[in-house]
Amino acid sequence: MPLGAHVDHAEVRERLADAASEIGWQDRLAAEEGRELREHLAGCVTCRADAAAWTRTTDALRAAAPLADARELAGSTALSGDLRARTIALVRAAGVQRDGAPRAAPAPAAPREAYAQPPAFLASGRTRWPWRRLGVLAAAAAVVLLAGGATGLQLIGQRDQAQADVADLTHLTATLDQVLSDPSRQVVTLASAPGGGPGGTVAWSAASSELVVISDALAPAPEGQLYRCWVERNGVRTSVGRMRFTGSIAYWAGQMDSWGGTLAHGDRFGVSLASASASGGGGGDPVLFGTF
């Protein structure tokens, strides 16, 4: 059916979709039989974009042939039966709060149920982010929160700390997720010094100027000292902030406003012990460091 004088773009897209259903459609479009459609596409950006999308799709389809093998080999790529439960447990533990109520509002028994299926990557020993510990700490903090509310004044201090811990962990996981959503993000493994074994990870997003550093290898800072994280370029060290502790996890998460630039190849990121009374600076020798 020829295209009418007043072209119906929906009709053009129908014809493109029909054409893409058969192999070799681009050749037919380029031949005489496709002249009318080609003439329309030449003058219509919207329909031309639609044709381009079909081209990309069918090119990918041809490149993946033979398609019949996809089903035959599906068994090797089938999901583990318990991955669903583990994924839901992870979201409950580390996902942002969405229902307007504290995530651990249920009875104290709920956190143990939520962690019946720990994330597989912990069992595999390939932990990069200590999700399970973050989640357990958040749940434990919430349990103390509930217990504090029920048993009286002597737990008010613990309850306040638990509230702060839950808020901190929520901020940490939200910032981490924001950084990891940036396609151009940089992630660097931090080495413990001396020795050089992995001791933490730092992730940086140039798009949002947000940075997250997490380590489970730092012992609590001695009295009067703290851990300060910094960035060093050309020998000049700029303080980023003070590492915070939640349980055994040390971390810093936030925007690098003080840095004012982008982390480049060769920049060093590190964590050092510093005097708590010092106003800033990068402290002493690094206890964790890595190079972008």
């Binding site: 790529t77 583990s80 942002v96 994330p119």
Partner: protein, 219 residues
């Protein structure tokens, strides 16, 4: 497949924004297999691919309020996140697609990617063969192929067989109708649905952000 319903992708995402775990679980059931299938084909490691699935769905939960159905399909969005996570893993491990060729190991002329999948199915350790001089190109091609195969593996049989006959055997829609004994209109509908699924899944992979109404591939 078209339009907003509580069980459509936009409908389920709107429920996830409100903290509906059942809606989140429904989206897991709908697309996790495709995400895992693409990731494991690229990474060659089931455990790491499962981590990618978990991280991808955590991102879905955390960023549900940022999903814009007018900008692209949900499955394309998920696969983009999964691809980025998978590439991170490869780079962190210092791996590149241009490693040991396994086509020779398989002993025949099958393409390296297909040989890889067969060896993976047998549970043997594998490497990935370069199909291009540029390792980044090889990675993109490998990921795209994995997405296509994962989506096809998860399609209803009626859609998949129509697509296979069209693209593996080069049959016309009329020939497919005769082969399967289906009305021509049914063949067209099922092939169209299959292609739309694929197009939606590939949106993020191939940079197709110009989702046009009526050709989006979303449910």
């Amino acid at each position: 497949m078209d339009g907003w319903t509580p069980e459509s992708d936009p409908g389920l995402m709107a429920r996830v924004v409100l903290g509906d775990e059942d809606a989140f679980a429904a989206l897991y059931d709908r697309y996790a297999a495709a995400v895992f299938g693409a990731a494991v084909r690229l990474l060659g490691d089931r455990n790491v691919a499962e981590e990618v699935v978990q991280e991808t769905y955590l991102a879905l939960w955390n960023r549900a309020d940022r999903f814009n159905p007018a900008a692209g399909s949900l499955v394309g969005w998920l696969l983009t996140i999964a691809r980025n996570r998978s590439v991170d893993r490869l780079r962190a491990a210092g791996r590149r697609p241009a490693l040991v060729s396994i086509g020779g190991q398989s002993g025949d002329d099958m393409p390296d990617d297909e040989a890889f999948e067969r060896v993976l199915a047998a549970g043997e350790p594998v490497g990935m063969a370069a199909v291009a001089q540029d390792p980044e190109d090889a990675l993109e091609r490998s990921w795209t192929r994995g997405v296509v195969r994962a989506v096809i593996a998860g399609m209803p049989d009626t859609e998949r067989v129509a697509l296979e006959l069209a693209y593996d055997e080069g049959l016309t829609q009329t020939e497919i109708a005769e082969r399967l004994g289906w009305p021509l209109g049914t063949v067209k509908t099922r092939t169209r649905r299959a292609l739309l699924r694929l197009r939606g899944a590939l949106e993020g992979v191939l940079g197709d952000g110009d989702a046009i109404g009526g050709a989006r591939g979303s449910r």
